[in-house]
């Protein structure tokens, strides 16, 4: 019930068109009652008494009334759609907003398919409920109540008789709703599972093809498709029985009236005319009951959908602006980690007592084996996650004390995985600063060694990339992502293995450009290549969530066994250099 109220609250914003839609609905009922009276007059007076002018006028009135009813019907249909679409629109926007405000840890656990099916099919179900669904519900209830009142006034004994089945109907409906609810919930979940499977299959298409696993994928999809079929049939079996059954119960009322009422007429306790009139009203009860049964199904479905939608809307973001968070002014770029520990929700400890201090303008390199926690460290700086213990300070201010926007705007980050949008190169580079000038954008692209290859595209910066455009190589995408971060002109720059897919020559170009750009900026670099790391002001050697050594190259090579090990191993590997190469170096 609480959930229904919450859905209904969305209508408040549209109460004017909604009210008009309901008035139209009532007006339609009025016209429906009026029309037969006119027809009767035409027949009785117009034709029966040969008054041709009455015939003419009344015919015109009939047409006029129908036009009027048409107008009401249009108003009802159009306005209720307007309202319900407006509500769906509002809900989707809210969901979208909410998804943005939720922290990384939420998105780590969430599945795209799930979120997608909630924002589309569940919202659609709620829309149907708030539009026609509710309108028909109110329509039916109004009709039921008014008919009941009329019946009670006409003949209380008979009325009680005809309404006797009502409690039974109510019990059946309640039981029906209780049974269907879990089934509908299950079906919506399965729909989301199916969406996810499909999405995964589409995203991983090259792996599926590469391993010739199409038959297995088809089987997996068919399995969930079958589950959906089965659960749909479970609900269908119940609904196709219950709905006609409710109508049958209502009809039994009619038969009772006819029988018992008939006996009363025979016994002289009731006039025949009264019975006929009474019976025609009783018949009017059947249709709204029929509709009610249909709407009840919709109501139950909508309940499952409402749960799923509100579950997202009610999700608490773990990372959010705390009350009274201050706007972070322009920073110098000093970064301090104080005994920082971190673990993902439900996961094991990823960082353990990490402490270091970076002066403004320093270059920090993070080095360590795959999965050691390097990315996790850099993810804590723009506060993608909150530390579990300890503090992260920028210019001496705890990152949790400032607003997220003011913090993130001053940090440029190139994530390990380069996510580009399906739009033009230009829009991708200027993503963080849509107002950047052409010159600024080109300068950023040049610094990221991206300008040249972009200019080779047929439409240069206006070339579409991604799903509908050209497909970029891994290295090209990384460079666009770097340009995107550089354009922000951030005080703190984080490059998370940003050049892993770039060839060495290009990487060197980028490095040179970056060196100039990093002047005066605090930068964090995660890299696998020691060559990238060697000139850093501070090297953090990370292993299994701890900083096992920190310092400059010269010191670490002497003092840290781990660092020296990594360093020499790499040298040996890249070092199988015949004399020829060394000779070539001079010539």
């Amino acid at each position: 019930m609480r959930l229904y109220w919450r859905v209904l609250k969305y209508m408040r914003e549209y109460w004017v068109p909604q009210a008009v839609a309901y008035l139209c609905m009532l007006a339609i009922n009025g016209v429906l009652i009026l029309s037969p009276q006119i027809t009767r007059r035409i027949i009785d007076v117009g034709i029966g008494k040969q008054q041709m002018d009455v015939l003419a006028w009344m015919s015109l009135a009939l047409v006029g009334l129908t036009v009027l009813r048409g107008a009401f019907r249009f108003g009802e249909g159009y306005l209720s759609e307007l309202v319900s679409q407006g509500i769906a629109y509002r809900m989707r926007n809210q969901l979208y907003w909410k998804l943005h405000s939720l922290s990384f840890s939420y998105h780590d656990r969430a599945q795209t398919g799930q979120l997608l099916s909630r924002a589309t099919s569940d919202v659609e179900r709620l829309r149907e409920l708030t539009g026609r669904g509710l309108l028909r519900l109110v329509d039916s209830i109004v009709l039921l109540i008014s008919t009941t009142v009329v019946l009670l006034r006409m003949q209380p004994t008979l009325a009680v008789l005809s309404l006797a089945v009502m409690p039974l109907v109510a019990i059946i409906m309640r039981r029906y709703m209780a049974q269907q609810q879990p089934a509908f919930r299950e079906r919506q979940n399965l729909m989301a599972v199916m969406t996810t499977r499909l999405e995964q299959n589409l995203l991983g298409v090259s792996v599926v093809r590469g391993f010739a696993q199409e038959p297995q994928e088809i089987a997996r999809f068919a399995a969930v498709n079958d589950d959906i079929y089965d659960i749909s049939m479970v609900t269908a079996r119940r609904s196709s029985f219950t709905m006609p059954f409710i109508v049958l119960l209502a009809s039994i009322g009619t038969v009772l009236i006819l029988w018992i009422g008939g006996r009363m007429v025979i016994a002289g306790q009731l006039t025949l005319g009264a019975l006929v009139a009474f019976n025609s009203y009783v018949l009017q009860l059947v249709n709204p009951m029929r509709r009610l049964g249909f709407i009840v199904t919709r109501l139950v479905e909508a309940h499952a959908s409402a749960e799923r939608v509100f579950e997202i809307l009610d999700a608490e973001s773990e990372v959010k602006n705390k009350p009274g968070a201050i706007e972070l002014g322009p920073i110098r770029g000093e970064v301090t980690f104080e005994h920082v520990s971190f673990q993902y929700v439900g996961g094991s400890k990823v960082l353990d007592d990490v402490s270091f201090h970076v002066e403004p303008g320093q270059v920090v390199a993070l080095l360590g084996p795959t999965g050691a926690g390097k990315s996790t460290i850099t993810n804590l700086i723009p506060r993608f996650y909150d530390v579990t213990e300890g503090r992260v300070l920028i210019d001496g201010i705890d990152v949790r004390d400032v607003t997220l926007e003011s913090l993130r705007r001053q940090i440029g980050i190139v994530l390990q995985e380069t996510q580009l949008f399906g739009s033009t190169v230009r829009e991708n580079i200027t993503f963080g600063r849509p107002d950047a000038t052409e010159e600024e954008m080109i300068a950023a692209a040049k610094a990221a060694a991206a300008h040249d290859f972009i200019m080779r595209f047929p439409k240069g910066y206006d070339t579409e990339v991604g799903e509908r455009g050209i497909t970029l190589s891994g290295g090209q995408r990384q460079r666009i992502a770097i340009a995107r971060a550089l354009l922000l002109n951030p005080r703190i720059l984080i490059l998370d293995d940003a050049t892993s897919s770039v060839d060495t020559e290009t990487e060197q170009q980028i490095q040179k450009a970056l060196e100039a750009l990093m002047e005066g900026r605090t930068s964090f670099i995660i890299a696998q290549r020691v060559s990238t790391v060697r000139n850093a002001d501070l090297i953090l050697v990370v292993d299994r969530g701890r900083i096992v050594a920190q310092g400059r190259h010269e010191d670490l090579i002497r003092e840290s066994g781990v660092y020296a090990d990594i360093y020499y191993r790499q040298l040996r590997q890249e070092d199988r250099v015949p004399q020829m190469a060394l000779a070539g170096r001079d010539g």
Binding site: T39, T195, S232, S239, S251, Q528, E574
Partner: protein, 613 residues
């Protein structure tokens, strides 16, 4: 975003998914309709049954009021208590029968509808599995999902509910018309004269409605697509604090979707009342003409009353038909979008003469291969090389030179536009695609993992592998240790965002996946670019063991990896510009030597390192 394995260079132009909207289609497309109805064919029996139940049920709805009237007139009015009881029981019987008919009709229709839904989804999914890679390059994931969900749904609505309603309505219209003609032909024809007008307006309306419904289908697919993209890109959006702007853009798309729906409904909300007005005009014609006839004594009042009852029985189904017509329009728009995909013929498919491949030695020849994604923009030109069985060939060159494209052509994700590729002397287009791909093992640039456990991901290419085999493969890829450190070991779920695994770890899992699949030919595309060097050193041995006796194609930026290759090909702007062994290429002192020196120099600048040697 294109996932894994992204070829450098150009890609097909924008064959936009929405080719609709420009043309106002015919309101009634015979081909689409016939194909839609084709889905009902397996359920002919059920549909016939449903129609039968429907007829029984509507017959009973007509019969019951008559019985009630009879009861009142002939039994109650004359005080026949005995007859009253019989009649009451008969009416009760009618209601029970009606209940039964309705129950079975609903159930049957639901069954047919759900079956069709299942079939269409299955069909679409199967088709997605055979469509060419170029298709996925052009379509957004969201769009493809939306076809599966919402377009299929609208079609089902028509096929399951709509068709039966329509059948019933048509039966009703025809039978009532016949009765009316039998009673009084001139008056009947006169009142039926509005039918052609109704048909014409339905036709005109259909034209507009289809365009409107098409727009709604398009908008919802744009909306879904945008949502899918943004949900995936949420991290970037948050990192760049662009939530406001993205929300504004989404708001626009969301608004467009709302408006498209509202205007489509406005059309149909207008249509139904317009039809009602037409039906009332028919009523007035009867009253007017009939009234004069009564005055002239050529007609009885009873006939007019009967006619009025019949016209209301006639036009109600006509109105219902117009509702079905709306469903029809929506289904047609959906059908169009689905058949558009189902009709796509994959570029890459088994040739009729395709042979299964047996006893592969792994001899690969690229014979003057040309390739272009976009006609007129060559990506590969005249690429020829040979890999002898068991040999390792390395591809070296700048990003975007065409190295990945060479690998993509070998696994036949795309077909060459010129020349041919041979494996053991067979053109790969003459080999069954599934056989070819089972033969080849690819470790792609971007490691894609599916949702599911780590074990599931490793065994992806060989689902029947035992746990021991999976562990052995993981050990070979040096992934076992970190996997064992995860909370549930091999049964740890890979999150969709893969945040519980680093990029390097994912590369290792992909490597294990290929090791387990035991392909005869290996393709490593930057397979270890994000793995730290210590780990890479360890994998190197595993890789060497794996590559021993296998034909391998290796793409790498780190030249250290490629030095031991039997042959190194330097690719530049789609051509092979140098080839030879490491020593030969250094002696040649060309592009390769230059590349090698740059990489080497950066390292050698460290004096300590030289000393340490």
């Amino acid at each position: 975003m294109s996932i894994s394995f992204a070829p450098g260079g150009f890609h097909p132009p924008h064959i936009h998914a929405d080719r609709y909207g420009e043309i106002e289609g015919k309101p009634f497309d015979v081909h689409i309709t016939r194909r839609l109805l084709g889905y009902l064919r397996p359920y002919r029996r059920e549909m016939a049954l449903a129609v039968l139940f429907m007829l029984v049920s509507s017959g009973l709805t007509l019969l019951t009021p008559y019985l009630i009237k009879k009861t009142i007139d002939e039994h109650i009015a004359v005080g026949n208590a005995q007859g009253l009881r019989t009649m009451a029981l008969a009416i009760l019987g009618c209601f029970v029968l009606d209940f039964f008919a309705q129950w079975r009709q609903r159930y049957t229709l639901n069954k047919v509808g759900n079956n069709i839904l299942r079939t269409m989804r299955d069909q679409l999914f199967r088709h997605y599995q055979v469509l060419s890679m170029s298709f996925f390059d052009q379509r957004g994931t969201g769009t493809l999902i939306s076809r599966m969900l919402s377009d299929v749904g609208v079609i089902n609505e028509l096929l399951s509910q709509g068709i039966v309603t329509m059948a019933g309505d048509i039966v009703m219209v025809v039978s009532v018309s016949i009765v009316m003609i039998a009673i009084n032909a001139p008056l009947a024809l006169l009142s039926l004269s509005v039918l052609p007008v109704m048909a014409l307006s339905a036709y005109l309306f259909g034209k507009k409605a289809r365009a409107a419904f098409r727009r709604t289908r398009e908008k919802v697919s744009i909306l879904t697509g945008r949502l899918a993209e943004d949900i995936n890109a949420m991290r970037v959006i948050e990192a760049f604090a662009q939530e406001d702007r993205m929300s504004r853009e989404f708001d626009q798309i969301n608004r467009d979707n709302r408006d498209a729906n509202v205007s489509a409904v406005a059309l149909s909300s207008f249509f139904t009342p317009a039809m009602e007005v037409l039906s009332v005009i028919a009523t007035c014609i009867i009253l007017w003409v009939g009234g004069r006839a009564v005055a002239g004594g050529t007609l009885t009042l009873g006939v007019i009353v009967a006619f009025l009852t019949y016209t209301s029985r006639l036009f109600q189904p006509v109105l219902d038909l117009s509702m079905v017509f709306t469903t029809w329009q929506a289904a047609m728009a959906g059908g169009e979008r689905i058949f558009e995909i189902l009709d796509l013929v994959p570029d890459v498919k088994d040739a009729p003469s395709a042979k299964p491949l047996t006893d592969v030695r792994g001899h690969i020849v690229f014979d003057h291969v040309d390739f272009e994604y976009v006609p007129g923009v060559p990506v590969l030109q005249d690429v020829s090389f040979e890999i002898k069985p068991g040999e390792t060939v390395a591809l070296v060159g700048a990003t975007g030179a065409g190295k990945t494209t060479i690998a993509l052509l070998l696994v036949r994700f795309y077909d060459v536009t010129g020349g041919r590729i041979l494996i053991d002397g067979h053109d790969i287009r003459e080999i069954k695609v599934a056989d070819l791909r089972r033969l080849l093992g690819v470790v792609p640039q971007e490691p894609f993992l599916f949702q599911g456990t780590i074990a599931y991901n490793i065994a992806f290419g060989r689902p029947e592998a035992t746990r021991e085999e999976i562990i052995a493969a993981a050990k070979a890829a040096n992934a076992h240790d970190f996997i064992m450190r995860l909370p549930n070991g091999y049964d740890t779920e890979v999150l969709e965002s893969s945040t519980n695994l680093s990029l390097g770890q994912r590369q290792l899992i992909c490597l294990a996946r290929v090791i387990l699949a035991q392909p005869q030919i290996l393709i490593l595309d930057e397979a270890t670019s994000s793995v730290d060097l210590r780990t890479e050193g360890l994998i190197q041995d595993a890789l060497e063991k794996l590559m021993a006796g296998r034909t391998s194609l290796v793409i790498a930026h780190r030249l250290a990896t490629v030095q031991r290759a039997g042959q190194i090909l330097v690719v530049d702007e789609g051509r092979i510009i140098e080839r030879g062994t490491h020593a030969e290429l250094l002696a040649l002192n060309g592009v390769y030597a230059q590349l090698y020196r740059t990489q080497f120099l950066t390292l050698e600048e460290a004096p300590v390192a030289v000393g340490a040697k």
